[in-house]
């Protein structure tokens, strides 16, 4: 298979080979950047435990290198890499202190690595093969039609990074006003989540060290009533909502990954049109949602003095005086088809703002959530679905009905002094119309520039109009010298850290929940070369 791919690639390049360039210096271009990023947590209430905070969250240094080779006018090879040093010692034991990798941990990332061939086999056709990042859609950042690459949210301050993937791209340019594009992505890659994502499934503890809250499963009202009854006085645990009587081990979340078969590959096509002041495109995507959707959950409980089930509890952590609970959840990546449309309007009149809009009709796979509970190794009869013993409480977590995600925006600037961008967003990146639903957002960004743009003050904010949580992100950027930028800023989240109803998945606050991240102040330096 590898040989066939290599031969195919070689054949395509051979077909494209035109006049070779005279020397390597003409052929190669190197660019990149050096970035340093220091962040300090400015809260002590959004961590895993109360009181954690007021410390450095990040001390990162990145070296980004992009090498482009143009051996002929019709062939291009690109290698884009990132060497990232995390800046925090991870050596926790004496033997680890002999390892530089533990004291100064780093990762190497291959952001892009592809070969592009122009005009093959037809003058109006380009082919690209390799590891790439695609960005579809006309609106800024919140692109519901942009589904080929998963998002990389490993940095909560960066909404634009993506997880690269291997793909084959064919672009056809039949006329000046039409571009056709088809992309095939053989394998699935999920979104990279922020470090705070684990807090979405973490337990809450009160000042006495008792469990104060646990991740709510995506259940309907009937299911929540059944779940609540487990903890009532006359429930099987009989704890009368006294969560101090629970010894709750940290929940475990497993992912159900699609197999690497061809049926799980992704395909997409797009037609881009230019019509006077309007650019628009129509697109189709077949693949999977890249963020995890809750699928199953099992709660295994051992009563005081009861039997261990073996599956759930670790004998070392068992408290014989309490109800010992282990919660194991599964998440999956549902299939979806996306029919998309987007446009950008640009007036000749400088006083008229630019308009952009993008909408995606999503035809999703139905996701049935199932939850079961065991007490002392015996499955509890929760009375919902006796025909299905492993999914006693069932609830639809994704109806399978088509839904729409959309973004509409305007932007306008006055000379070099002022820029404003306003957007209405229906459905955030990770929203899939599951039990959490789709929220309405207002996104605003304003920028003031001074001293010939050397000094820029930017304020970005996102308001969740559904639950009234929000984030603000003020930033000051100083271009010290050409190619040298210093940035200072702050990100703050508003909203309840706990759901309004502890058993209701849908009452989590979009930006308030701890899984969103910490409030941080940051300082960044970047040199581009």
């Amino acid at each position: 298979m590898k040989h066939k791919t290599t031969l195919l690639l070689a054949g395509v390049i051979l077909l494209a080979s035109g006049s070779a360039k005279a020397n390597w210096a003409e052929m190669i271009s190197l660019s990149g950047s050096l970035e340093s990023d220091v962040r300090f947590i400015t809260d002590n209430w959004r961590g895993a435990k109360k009181g954690q905070g007021y410390e450095f969250e990040m001390n990162r240094n990145d070296i980004n290198l992009r090498l482009r080779a143009d051996p002929t006018e019709r062939v291009q090879a690109v290698v884009d890499t990132r060497l990232r040093f995390f800046g925090f010692n991870e050596a926790a034991t004496l033997p680890e202190l002999i390892s530089r990798e533990r004291i100064d941990p780093f990762s190497f990332q291959l952001t892009e690595a592809y070969v592009a061939v122009r005009g093959v086999p037809w003058s109006k056709m380009d082919i690209k093969i390799g590891r790439m990042i695609q960005t579809w859609g006309t609106v800024d950042m919140f692109n519901p039609t942009d589904n080929l690459n998963a998002r990389d949210f490993s940095d909560p301050l960066n909404f634009m990074d993506k997880v690269p993937n291997q793909m084959l791209e064919i672009d056809i340019y039949p006329t000046d006003w039409l571009t056709l594009q088809a992309v095939w992505v053989p394998t699935f890659k999920p979104a990279q989540l922020p470090p705070s994502a684990v807090l979405g499934f973490a337990l809450e503890y009160d000042d006495n060290g008792c469990v104060a809250g646990f991740p709510a499963p995506p259940l309907d009202a009937d299911g929540r009533a059944v779940l609540g009854s487990l903890f009532s006085a006359d429930g099987p645990f009989g704890i009368d909502l006294d969560l101090c009587r629970l010894n709750f081990a940290n929940p475990e979340v497993r992912t159900v990954m699609p197999k690497a078969g061809i049926s799980n590959s992704q395909a997409a096509a797009r037609a881009k049109f230019q019509a006077g002041p309007v650019d628009f495109s129509l697109s189709y995507y077949y693949g999977r949602f890249k963020f995890p959707v809750a699928y199953t959950a099992v709660a295994d409980v051992m009563s005081p003095g009861g039997k261990t089930s073996g599956f759930v509890t670790d004998s070392k952590t068992i408290d014989p005086k309490k109800y010992n609970v282990k919660y194991v959840a599964e998440v999956m990546y549902p299939r979806m088809q996306v029919i998309g449309a987007d446009f950008a309007y640009s007036s000749d009149n400088p006083w008229v703002p630019g308009f952009k809009a993008e909408a995606a009709l999503i035809l999703p796979e139905k996701v049935d959530f199932g939850m079961s509970a065991f007490l002392d190794g015996e499955k509890l009869d929760l009375g919902k679905d006796p025909a299905n013993p492993m999914r006693t409480i069932t609830s639809t977590n994704g109806s399978g009905k088509p839904f729409v995600k959309a973004t509409v925006g305007v932007d306008w600037s006055y000379s070099d002094i002022f820029y404003i961008n306003l957007m209405y967003v229906y459905g955030f990146f990770d929203e899939f119309n599951d039990r959490f639903g789709l929220h309405h957002f207002f996104v605003g960004a304003t920028e003031f520039k001074f001293l010939q743009s050397e000094l820029q003050i930017r304020m970005s904010s996102v308001l969740d109009m559904t639950d009234l949580s929000a984030m603000i992100y003020p930033q000051l950027t100083w271009i010290v010298a050409p190619a040298v930028e210093l940035s200072f800023g702050y990100m703050h989240f508003f909203g309840d850290t706990s759901p309004r109803d502890p058993l209701d998945f849908a009452t989590k606050s979009r930006f308030g929940q701890k899984a969103t991240g910490r409030n941080v102040a940051f300082m960044k330096a970047k040199v581009t070369f």
Binding site: S31, Q76, A116, R118, D126, I133, Q134, T135, T138, M160, D171, Y173, D176, T179, P277, D279, A344, S346, S347, D348, N349, P350, W351, V352, P353, G354, D411, W412, S413, Y414, S415, D416, L451, Q452, S453, E454, I479, A481, P482, A483, V484, E485, K526, T528, F529
Partner: protein
Amino acid sequence: MRLRTVGRMLAVVVALAAFSGTAHAETAAEILVKMDKTVNGFDDQFMDNTMTIINIDGSKKSYRFSILQKGEKRLIRFSTGEMKGMANLIEGAGRVYAYLPGQKKVRRVSAHNMQQSFAGSDFSNDDMAFTSWPGNYTAEIKSQDDNYWILTCTAIPGKSAPYPAAEAKVKKGTYQLDAYTFFDEAGKPIKSFENSDLTDFGGGLMRNKTILVTDLRTGHKTQLEIHEFKVNQKVPDSKFTQRELEWGR
């Protein structure tokens, strides 16, 4: 004797010819067309430049970029500075696209962005997109001396002139545009351009190598130095497409 007569006759013919040349005084419109032909009158042109932004306190910063131009179409690529990798495609008035390397995306630039400065310099995006004097301005001769015509230019309504009025200093004989100033609606001077260091870029291709732009409201200056200037390279139209913008990313 005969030779003397022939010589005198020849002298008269030459003098008459010279007189007839000056007798037909060129109109402002003709001068504007010839000047534009000197500046923009190529099938295509390529310039590799260093742009130095000079602050009022004298501090400087420089960026390198190239411009490929054919008719109204331009492709601008930055090769240094924080904008390295960025590219602008100007397909025509109101049709401007930018390749944003951070987003790996081609984005249509709205008209309001055209008022912004070009990379923090004293050139605006409109200045960079301005490619035809006779297509955007009518001209009148304000004054002239032995070396220069001074033309007063007025924007043609409905066209894409970057400013309402301009004054252009055109060198007699070469039709080089050695200086020009743009004015606002009230007639106040906004920006001046001084072109100097006329250089042969090969094969008699003459061009002012240095352009000094001064924002007359602030005193801020930008100097453009042309390192390489090539014309009539038979650049195909396909170089001015989004395909090219993506290809060069």
